[in-house]
Amino acid sequence: MTSIREFALPDVGEGLTEAEILRWLVQPGDVVAVNDMIVEIETAKAAVELPSPFAGTIVELKVQPGDVVAVGTPIVGIETVAAAEAPSRQAVLVGYGVREESTPSRRRRGRRGTDVDETAAAPADEPAPAVAVSAAASEASPGVVKAKPPVRHLARELGVDLNRIIATGLHGEVTREDVRSAAGSGAPPAAPSRQAPRDERIAVHGVHRAMAEAMAHSARTAPQVTEWVDVEMTRANQAVARLREAWQGDGVRVTLLTLVATGLIRAVQAHPLTNAAWVDEGPALQMRGAVNMGIAADTPRGLLVPVVKDAGALSLRQLAGAIQGLVDDAREGRSTPADLTGGTVSVTNIGVFGIDGGTPLLPPGQSAILAMGRVVERPWVVEGVVVSRPVMQLTLTFDHRVMDGATGSKVLRAVADFLADPALELLVDSR
């Protein structure tokens, strides 16, 4: 005989309340042994893999990658051969009470003779999640109704919704008698609530929290100036197309980002302050020899900024490969801590979102960030005639403690000039 067992999300840290599902390592139909890894999750503290507590066949994945799941929520159903494993039992962890949805038999206990009916028809061995939902819903507003835990327990046993009881307690709390009389008077039982939109507070952690802290710090500490310029991109587009053609089949992915990064590296090398960092102690400027270029990447986990180390020492081809590798790693969640730190200057591509331009905020410890907008056909005046040309807006945010307006303008102008005619710039440079 087989039965379906559920594995509830455990607290893998000390007092964590939720975790994000990163990816499933199994699919329905897969056979697993005890302690085979089945899912990777990320908590506020760590990304960890969870081993299966049961041997059996995966029948259902109850949550999806990206879901943030409360501790105690069933995440997977596993069909096990009866008696092969000891009965499932939810841990009573330090600081936690006994979870209500521990086992089906427990859940049904005491429900006899009551008017909670949504599980009455449920097969004996099948878990009844609807009950857990309704119980949770009736408890969802504990701040509104005052009642002691034993009274709440009684209300749940009798199927009485605390929200619909008139409280007669000395301090406005619902008493045991209130619950009993409500049950006797046939007051409406707790109904499963609809998932209506509601106000709620959601904890911020992981990549999102890191972003929030970094940006708030940046906005508080650095006086940031933003300048922008439109660039006619005909030649830059041609250069990208030519390079793609030339390196076709080598697996090197040249994009406009590669060219923009190249332009910025050249500008930084011509204006070393762009690569400097402000130091409060002194005060002083921390000059940095290597150009470590951060590439802002939109990943499934949120905004990550992998860093191309010593980008100034790379050829265009190496740079393209390095960006490609780092961004792929970031999107696949393979970035190491070293990949994500040590940047001295950054590029962000908001054009991919269909945006013309914007004012990026400086990553902490950096003095310049360049944003590239989308390339779009616009009216462009050439020798007195309005013609249609591909145009991109470049935006540079820089730290005004480190650079004055003249320097920042030169940096942005240098990138714009490079993109307006990359081949010419490279030839001029190779004199």
């Binding site: 594995f7 509830a8 999300l9 455990p10 607290d11 893998v12 840290g13 000390e14 005890v34 302690n35 503290k45 760590a46 990304a47 960890v48 893999e49 969870l50 081993p51 507590p53 000891a86 009965p87 499932s88 039992r89 939810q90 841990a91 009573v92 962890l93 330090v94 006994v98 005491g110 835990p149 034993p150 327990h153 009684l154 046993e157 009798l158 045991r176 619950v179 009993r180 190491t336 801590p337």
Partner: protein, 361 residues
């Protein structure tokens, strides 16, 4: 890199399982004793792996892994006489195992259903101390008692490299030196104080600190169980014969996370693990046993089976562990409970029972 750091460490068995000589230390063990060392290390490692999995399944609240430190723990604990007394940290599952503490007793504490886990007097092994370095002072105090009693007994206390920065540990060093206590300070230098690497806070090799306090310090290859035993036996003999304390620095590596709440991939490189995997304490003894005909395939298979059985025992045992009644929290506060506590206990019981009221009323 590791070899350079180990330069001064006592070693009797190389990572390749070759027996080598040392001018000052040697050990002779029977084949049966060697096999039992191997068996204990394998079983402790399996216990550790199963406990880690049980934490990930929500069955225990926390686990501190001993992975990689089996030789340091099992070797030193095997050097003790049954009358000696050990003060372990929360990571020393190999020590408590060798002192006869049952796996269920260890896991009950990590499941949060007991305040201790075992009878420290019966096991001659104190309860795990969670406060870093605190047990070193306890051990010094206990050793003072041994000295006053004139007992033929040695005391060993375990702590990590990070704990050597604690005031408690340094105070205990002072006490040990001043009173020439029958005490062995056994430092498992596993290279990591949670996420802080060894070289961040150990400017000088740890064993050299002993000289400043006035007692000898020895660094031993902590993944070489023979060397660990030879050095620990010498230190225990010194303690019993009135020679005073010794600091033993077992140079090893924490292969797992600090605890199950920690994610070491955020601060250390996988290549470090690869280096230390080649220095594995169990593998080198296995090679030594096999190469010298002291154990054969059937013996290793038998130990593996034992380990698998242990895992099932641990898994089923932990899942079956019931939470104690809440009022038992009052049981060990005082030998003779105060009136106030008696009243609190009665109040708690009445409250718990009130959950059952109503349906029957």
């Amino acid at each position: 890199m590791v070899d350079a750091l180990l330069g001064s460490a006592v070693q009797l068995l190389t990572p390749e399982g070759e027996r080598v000589e040392h001018p000052d230390f040697d050990i002779t063990l029977t084949d049966a004793e060697l096999r039992s060392l191997y068996r204990d290390m394998v079983l402790v490692r399996r216990l550790d792996a199963e406990a880690t999995a049980l934490q990930r399944q929500g069955e225990i609240g926390l686990w501190a892994s001993s992975l990689g430190q089996e030789a340091a723990q099992v070797g030193s604990a095997h050097s003790l006489r049954s009358s000696d007394y050990a003060f372990p940290t929360y990571r020393d599952h190999g020590v408590s195992w060798c002192r006869g503490v049952q796996p269920m007793e260890i896991l009950a504490m990590f499941r949060g259903i007991t305040n201790g886990g075992w009878d420290p007097i019966a096991r001659r092994c104190s309860l795990y101390t969670i406060v870093i370095g605190n047990q070193v002072l306890h051990a010094a105090g206990y050793a003072m008692g041994v000295q006053l009693d004139g007992a033929d007994e040695a005391v060993i206390v375990y702590f990590g490299d990070g704990a050597t920065d604690e005031g408690d540990v340094n105070e205990a060093f002072v006490l040990g030196a001043d009173y020439q206590l029958p005490l062995v300070y056994f430092c498992e230098n596993n290279q990591w104080a949670i996420s802080s690497p060894r070289d961040r806070f150990n400017r000088a090799p740890l064993y050299q600190r002993a000289a400043g306090f006035g007692f000898p310090g020895v660094r031993v290859d902590g993944n070489d169980i023979l060397a660990v035993m030879a050095v620990t036996r010498m230190a225990l003999d010194r303690a019993r014969s009135g020679g005073g304390p010794t600091l033993v620095e077992a140079f090893t590596y924490r292969m797992g996370a600090h605890t199950t709440s920690d994610d070491p991939t955020r601060y250390r490189h996988a290549e470090d693990l690869e280096i230390w995997r080649l220095r594995d304490p169990i593998e080198r003894l296995k090679v030594y046993l096999a190469r010298n005909g002291m154990a054969d395939r059937s013996y290793f298979d038998q130990v593996d089976h034992e380990a698998a059985d242990l895992a099932v025992l641990v898994r089923d045992g932990v899942r079956a562990m019931a939470a104690p009644a809440p009022e038992t929290m009052f049981d060990h506060v005082y030998v003779d409970p105060t009136a106030e506590l008696v009243a609190q206990r009665a109040g708690l019981i009445a409250y718990e029972e009130s959950f059952a009221e109503g349906l029957t009323a």
